[in-house]
Each structure stands twice: as C-alpha cells, then as structure tokens.
C-alpha cells in the first residue's frame, strides 16, 4: 500500500514548488534614471544607499539584477511594488 495517494503527492509537489526560492529580477530599460532606480530599491526593500546603488549599477551594466530572493508570495508582492514604480521586473526560480 502506498504511503501517499497520487493527489497527496501532487499537493506535496506543489507545496515544494511554492517553497522554492524565487528571484525578483529587474531589467534594464532606456528610460528610468539611475538615481530613480536607486531610490526605488531603497523604498521598496529598505536597502542602504550603497546596496541600492550596487544593484542599480548591476542593472545598468549587466542588463539585469537579482534584487531579492525568497518565497514566491513575497516575490510576487515585490514585483507588484516595482511595477507600480514602472521598473521592468520579472521573477524566476532561483538556482
């Protein structure tokens, strides 16, 4: 007799997936000003000026930056926040 039913296995798999860490990724765009992007990182994540500027420069020079990693629900919340500030942002599974 199996220890779990197929349904339970699916639920466990879904739970595992939602527990996986997700990256919040900000993409470079030709419109948003560098100083503005740094301000947004400070406001949304509470980062220091130095951290915000490092991430902003990463976006600028590398075209993208992982600005936060964690559970999916919170990642979605942060993406929504960054979209409201008009930053091009997406999320991806970490690792």
């Amino acid at each position: 007799m199996p220890k779990t039913t197929p349904d339970t296995q699916k639920k466990q798999q879904a739970l595992k997936q939602s527990d996986m860490p997700w990256n919040v990724v900000v993409l470079n765009d030709p419109v948003n000003l560098q100083a503005y992007v740094a301000i947004v990182f400070k406001r949304v994540f509470g980062y220091s000026q130095a951290r915000a500027e490092t991430l902003m420069m990463e976006v600028h020079t590398q075209g993208r930056s992982v600005v936060w990693t964690g559970v999916r629900e919170k990642a979605e919340f942060y993406v929504q926040q960054l979209h409201s500030w008009q930053l091009q942002t997406t999320m991806e599974k970490a690792g």
Binding site: L27, D29, P30, V31, N32, L33, A35, Y36, I39, K42, Q49, E76, V79, Q80, H83, S84, W85, Q86, Q88, T89, T90, M91
Partner: protein
C-alpha cells in the same frame, strides 16, 4: 519656460507661451497610455501568475491617477490669474510617474534613446532635416527628462 526650486522644497514651473502650456498638456494627452504600460509590465510575467487578472487593473488605476492628477494641476494653473504650476514635495512622485509614462511611450514609438546618442546626431548632421514628428518627440523627451531630473535633485533625493 522656467523651472525653479521653491523655498517650501518643491518646484515651480512658469510657462511663458502657449507652446509651453501645450508641451505640458501633452504629458497627459493619451488616455490609453496607463493601460498600455500596465499590460506591457504584465507581459514580463508568466501566464501562471495571472498578473493580467489580478494586478493589471490596480496598476492601470495607479498610472491613470498619476496622469489625471497632473492633467488637473496643469489645467487649473492655466486657468488661474497667476499661471504658475507649483509641485509640492508630496506631489513629486505623481509628477515623476506621469512623466515616466510619457517618456516610456515616446521611447516605444520613436526610440528616442537612440537619438540621444551623439553619433546619431552627427549622422543626422542637421536637426532641421529630421521629420517634424521625430524632432518633436526628441525635444519633448529632453524636456520631460529635465523636469524629472529636477524632481529627483530638488525633492525626491532630499526625502531619502
């Protein structure tokens, strides 16, 4: 047009001609812009996120509030006896957001960033040779960029 910092920590815009007012009113000229921006941001998310259903309406409303706020401020100032636009510190983000929307729209339509490149300008050799619409987009983008830079320098950076 003159743009000056105020003693209260804001900005004052002093349009000097009808063209100046028209330039300002073009910030809010496109009713579809908030929708387009909200949807283009949602395109960055995968379909499973159901972003279009749950997030886009809120984003669209927030973006529309920005343009409506700026539209009302310009309209009110233009009709007043002392036609000056005052941007208070608490209003800076609304203005910045509305300006960002119009610059994103100009970028999408005319690729104005490419025009900013000096080499491009040299290749064009003479601005007078440019298509009138393209030239308008270029100068509007420059003006809105300047206003955004002043909002950052005199208000938003100081609030940090």
């Amino acid at each position: 047009m003159k743009i000056l910092p105020t003693l209260e920590g804001g900005l004052c815009i002093l349009p000097e001609s009808e063209v100046d007012w028209d330039e300002l009113q073009l910030i809010c000229s496109d009713d579809e812009r908030p929708t387009y921006l909200a949807e283009s941001l949602a395109d960055l998310m995968d379909d499973d996120s159901e972003w279009g259903e749950y997030v886009v309406p809120d984003l669209e409303e927030a973006f529309r509030n920005q343009t409506q706020f700026v539209h009302a401020a310009i309209k009110q100032a233009r009709q007043s006896d002392d036609p000056a636009i005052f941007i208070r510190p608490v209003e800076a983000e609304q203005w910045y957001g509305a300006l960002n929307q119009v610059r994103l729209s100009l970028q999408a339509s005319y690729d104005v960033e490419e025009l900013e490149d000096l080499e491009e300008l040299n290749e064009a050799s003479d601005l007078n040779d440019w298509d009138l619409e393209l030239k308008g987009a270029y100068f509007r983008n420059r003006f809105y960029l300047l206003l955004q830079s002043m909002l950052l320098e005199f208000i938003m950076n100081k609030a940090e």
